[in-house]
Structure formats: C-alpha cells, structure tokens
Amino acid sequence: MSNIPGGRGAVGNQSFSKVLPTYQFAWDSTSLGLLKECPRKYYYTNVLGKERSDSSVHLVFGSHYHRAHEIFHHARSAGAGHTEALHAAVRYCLEATWDRTLGRGWISDIPEKNRLTLVRSIVWYYEQFAEDPLETVILASGKPAVELSFKAEVGEAPTGDPLLLCGHLDRVATIGGDTWISDYKTSKGALGSYYFQQFSPHNQFSLYTFASEFVYSLPVKGIVVDAAQVGAGFSRFQRGFVTRTAEHHEEWFKDFKHYTTLAYQYAAEGYWPLNDKSCGSYGGCPFQPICSKPPSVREQWLGGYANRQWDPMVSRGQEF
C-alpha cells in the first residue's frame, strides 16, 4: 500500500508519529470514528490524506452554520443585543458564501443546503430560541466558552508518543444550575425521539463528555443537542438532552485504548482491513469505487482523489 500516488498525506502531519509515520497518536472524534467504521477508509482518509475532490455540500453548510453560531455568541458576550448579534451572524453567512473572484454566491446542488437556507436557519433558530434558558459559560479570560479546542494526554502510545485526545466543543453552557456541552447538528431528515436515539452511544459525544469530566474535571451533565432539520422551504429545530454516566465513560475509554492499539497494529503490519459491511453507510463511502476494483489496480485510481491533511492537533478556536 506504500506506492499509492500522492499517498503521503501523513507526512508533516503533527498528529502522526515520527517513529512509525503511519501511526496516529493524537485522536479526535472524526479520526476515531473513521477507524471504527472501516480501517481501510481511515487509511485512505487520514494516513494517505485523500478525499473526494468535490467537497461535500453538507460539510460546507455545517461549517458555516457552526461558525455563525459562534459569531452570535461572541457578539452577545461582548455586549451586543440579540438583533445586533444576529445581524453579525447573518453578515458572516453572506460574506463567507460569496465568491469574490466569480462575483456570485455559493452554488449548491442540494436544494436543502444553500446560501438562503443557511441564513434562514440562523434567523429562524434565534427566533425560536430568542429567550434561551441556556447561558454560555464565561471563561476566566472573560471570553465566552464557545468553539473551545482541547488537547489532553490520556496515556502513552506504543510508539512512545503521548496518546492524545483532541476536539472542539461548540459551546459550554449552563441551564438550571447544571453545566452542559452544547452542540449544533443539521439534518435533512425528520427530528424526534428516534433522531436523538442515535446519540447514545455516540463516539463524538462520549469523547467530549469524557474529556470534560476526566481530563478537565469539568462536571458536565451531558450534551445539549440543538438539531436543525433543514428543508428547502423551512428550518425546524428541536433540542435534545444526551447524558452519560461514569460507567459509560469507563467503557468508552476502554474501547478507545482498544481501537488505538489496533491502529498501531495496522500501521506496524502495513495493512488496514476493509469493513465491507459499512460501504453503504452515511450515504455511501467515497472510497467505494476504489474498493470495488481489484486490489492490484486500486492504487492508480486514488490519483483522482484530492489531497487533504486531517490534523486533530490544529486548533480551531480558543485553547481549553
């Protein structure tokens, strides 16, 4: 697997070991989730640094949606009123989705996720939650606890590198005297109890609550999920509360160590097995066209994929 064209994604990626360059010692929920889903998909994505060249509309939309919320909360904590903060978030959405070179807005081929539905979702969210009992925690620095990047050592990797947990919390907030991690999700599908069931168990949320409780001694009740169902003509919101117990955390951390040990074994052997039961999950794996080809010709086809390095060590917001 070492002769894949452009397959040097992990080179220069600080989350990978210098001792064994295909072994990742700094883990975030995205990396761990990929490994759990399919070791081969993880290998193509994280070790080789490959992605489909047409970047996902869902990713672009989700990223702007999160950033707009962040701007709103920063503005509010800086003293701006509700409307002023909302205008700042709307202005961000419009500017971030405007192509200066082409002189036009972002064109999406998905009717549910485009410039208008992005701005509408932000405006409608803050209409529904205009009187929100959830209050953003203000850090000792005086800044709001929004988009917090964390990096914590939780052990030693087999390579001798520190075993790290990394991530980004959307927001830490209080409600009724309890502290919660607040997370925004967008979906095309319907919301309801069935939608919220998917978060227990849930790799990302367990990592977040584990990190808060055991690494930072910040006792959080769990995650407040503000889910948005974004349709072509509407944005519907529902708030769900997802809790974790100490036992859940213990189990999750045991699994985390198990999976990262497997990652070391795959890297040492130079072989990442394919999980053919997950090819159709999440709308279909982007590497399914590669894995469908005979192993002897797969390498040449990876050249058609774009290079992108996923490095959990890169901080996205304030250090927590």
């Binding site: 205008h87 002189g103 807005g105 405006v123």
Partner: protein
C-alpha cells in the same frame, strides 16, 4: 407624469433574491435588517401551517373514481 407623482418611484425595498445576489460587502445594516425581517415573516407564515393539526395539513386526496364513459359528443363540438 412628473417624478413626484409617480408611485413607482417611491422607496422600493429590494427583494430577498436581489439582496442575496449582491456583493455582501456592499450591503448596509438596513439591507441586513431587511433580510432578517423578510425571513422572520417567512417563518410566521410557515408556523401557521406547521402548527395546524395533522388532519388539517393533509392535502385532500384526488378521487380515484374517473368517469371513462365519454364520447366525442361530450366535448360539445
């Protein structure tokens, strides 16, 4: 008709589509406010339907009965 008498020349706020098609750096606070208030109005309209009971939202089903006993005479030509 003089300009003053022409009602079409009165302040004509831009539509949502027009505001979205403009370079956002050229939008002033009033434009952003217009976008927000238009979208709020859209939500009010949507909420009216959203809050209706399910039965009231359901579209009436078309009758499955179709009278196929037609002749050219029925066209009234």
């Amino acid at each position: 008709m003089s300009d003053a008498a022409n009602p079409l020349l009165e302040a004509d706020p831009l539509s949502l589509d027009e505001l979205f098609s403009r370079d956002p750096l050229g939008l002033n606070d009033q434009d952003i406010g217009k976008i927000v208030s238009d979208l709020r109005r859209q939500r009010v309209k949507w909420k009216i339907t959203e809050d209706l009971p399910k039965e009231a939202k359901a579209k009436p089903k078309a009758s499955k009965k179709v009278d196929l006993n037609l002749s050219l005479g029925d066209l009234g030509l």
